[in-house]
Subunit: 298 residues, 2 copies
């Protein structure tokens, strides 16, 4: 029986949580934060975890938010009705396919990957009967990674995409949406393709620009970073993110990222040509348009 | 007589401040913060101000850090031994030339402009006998502008460039360097040309990228900004700066800015080609090099 979610402080013993057995596969910053939020908000009766490294399993087993830390992903997923795959994007679809048979009939599998088209298509195609994959992308990452930075309120007030395919079961989509709302997130439901186009522009392109600028400046005299102000620090902050993770993200969202880069190159060329030709009214209009957009973000 | 600077809390009545009469022309964020720091640290006996707008003059006159708010710049500069021009870059050289004759013989004039080659050349050429222009660039700006955001500790721990020409009087350069150190800044002395090359890369280029990205995104669906995370917010923060101010900065530092843009385009093209050709090892190496640079900035 699925109950309407009630904030944990108001839960009475007789009220069941929305999920019974929930598994988190690969508890890094997002996975461990999610387990903490699930526990704090009473979103599942039992939380199991799979982590590859023994020291991570041990840390999980000693935490309040983990009831069992398993050495095999199938073991963590056994008899679960909700699984969240929190690995790097390149491993998500295969891992979801691998653990799905161990889940309870009717189980929902989701993920926290920053790309969606490939993952949703591959994971959905690999689901056995009675299991549904519903892609998710909670936008709560950080250039800080790992369980050490995890916190239960990581998701509160942040945005999450849920990305069903056309034929994904409505009931499963609704439950996934509800789950992320219950962690405190603002949820938007879009197709995987629309998701990938949006994040290519608002997340992957900013990352690319920060990384390329930082890589360019790495070739300049060694004393220049000393003169850097907060402007450069802010503009390049995301470039501190893991190169392996981001390589995978760009591989998975290659086409939309290339399109976003080309759109950027066009606009940069427009500013460069205006500056070159001393058309300072055009320079100012680009700066003005940029300012208006940025002011709306705040 | 010039005395060694002693922190204001230790000043005894008999110790003279480094400067006698100091003028701040155009007290915005930088100018008003500077006046506050000068007063708090006892760097001048008297502080006069010129502001174009009557309401700004009134606010200055009512503050603790201003002894006289004048309607004409010459009036504020009369009998001063140190003048700091805090206008937008396009007005600095002309204003320094205009007020120099009113200054005391031996006076030093400086500025807070983000570009230096044009300003230093023009202002120096316009100095009458007995007045020395020494260009400065305290890197303590913000996307927030105006006197309302001013604070005495704006400069503490930040970097400042002092940019003498080859034939600028050494004594004047030393006094300007000492002045900025006395406000709490870390001072580097470089040529105006070297300054402009450095800031084109570490300040103007990041601003250009933030503005161009924001301008590009301004043309996308109206709901996209809603999904933005902190990554996009940080990467674009400086794009909120004043378009008029930045148009002027780019006009003044046009050649170095164009060179910095071209260097960026080359590196972006390298990443784009690698992504296009599925050379993910190259993609990762650019991300890695960027991360190493960014980690050093922190």
């Amino acid at each position: 029986m699925r109950m309407t979610f009630v904030p944990s402080s108001f839960i009475r013993p007789a009220v069941s949580p929305p999920f019974d057995n929930l598994a988190i596969l690969a508890p890094g910053l997002l996975g461990a934060s999610l387990a903490m939020a699930v526990r704090e908000r009473g979103l599942a009766r039992r939380i199991t975890v799979w982590a590859r490294r023994p020291e991570v399993r041990q840390a999980c087993a000693e935490s309040k938010w983990c009831d069992a830390a398993c050495t095999e992903p199938e073991e963590a997923a056994r008899d679960t009705d909700f699984v969240v795959v929190c690995t790097p994007v390149s491993m998500i679809a295969a891992l979801a396919a691998r653990v799905a048979p161990a889940c309870r009939d009717g189980a929902i599998l989701t993920d926290v990957g920053s790309t969606k088209s490939l993952i949703c298509r591959e994971a959905t195609a690999a689901m056995p009967d009675g299991r549904t994959f519903v892609g998710s992308h909670p936008m709560a990452g950080s250039e800080k990674t790992g369980m050490d930075h995890a916190r239960a309120d990581l998701f509160a007030g942040r945005n999450c995409f849920v990305t069903p395919l056309d034929d994904t079961q409505t009931n499963a989509v609704d439950r996934a949406v509800r789950f992320w709302r219950d962690t405190g997130m603002d949820v938007a439901t879009v197709s995987p393709e629309e998701h990938d186009e949006i994040v290519a522009h608002i997340s992957h392109l900013p990352h690319i620009l920060a990384s390329v600028l930082s890589s360019q400046l790495a070739g300049k005299p060694a004393d220049w970073p000393h003169y850097a102000g907060n402007g450069l620090r802010d503009t390049t902050r995301v470039a501190a993110g893991g190169p392996g993770l981001w390589r995978d993200i760009l591989e998975q969202n290659r086409e939309e990222s290339l399109r976003a880069i080309e759109g950027f190159e066009d606009e940069l060329h427009r500013l460069k040509a205006a500056l070159h030709n001393r058309h300072f009214a055009t320079v100012k209009s680009i700066l003005q348009r940029g300012k208006e957009f940025r002011d709306r973000l705040s």
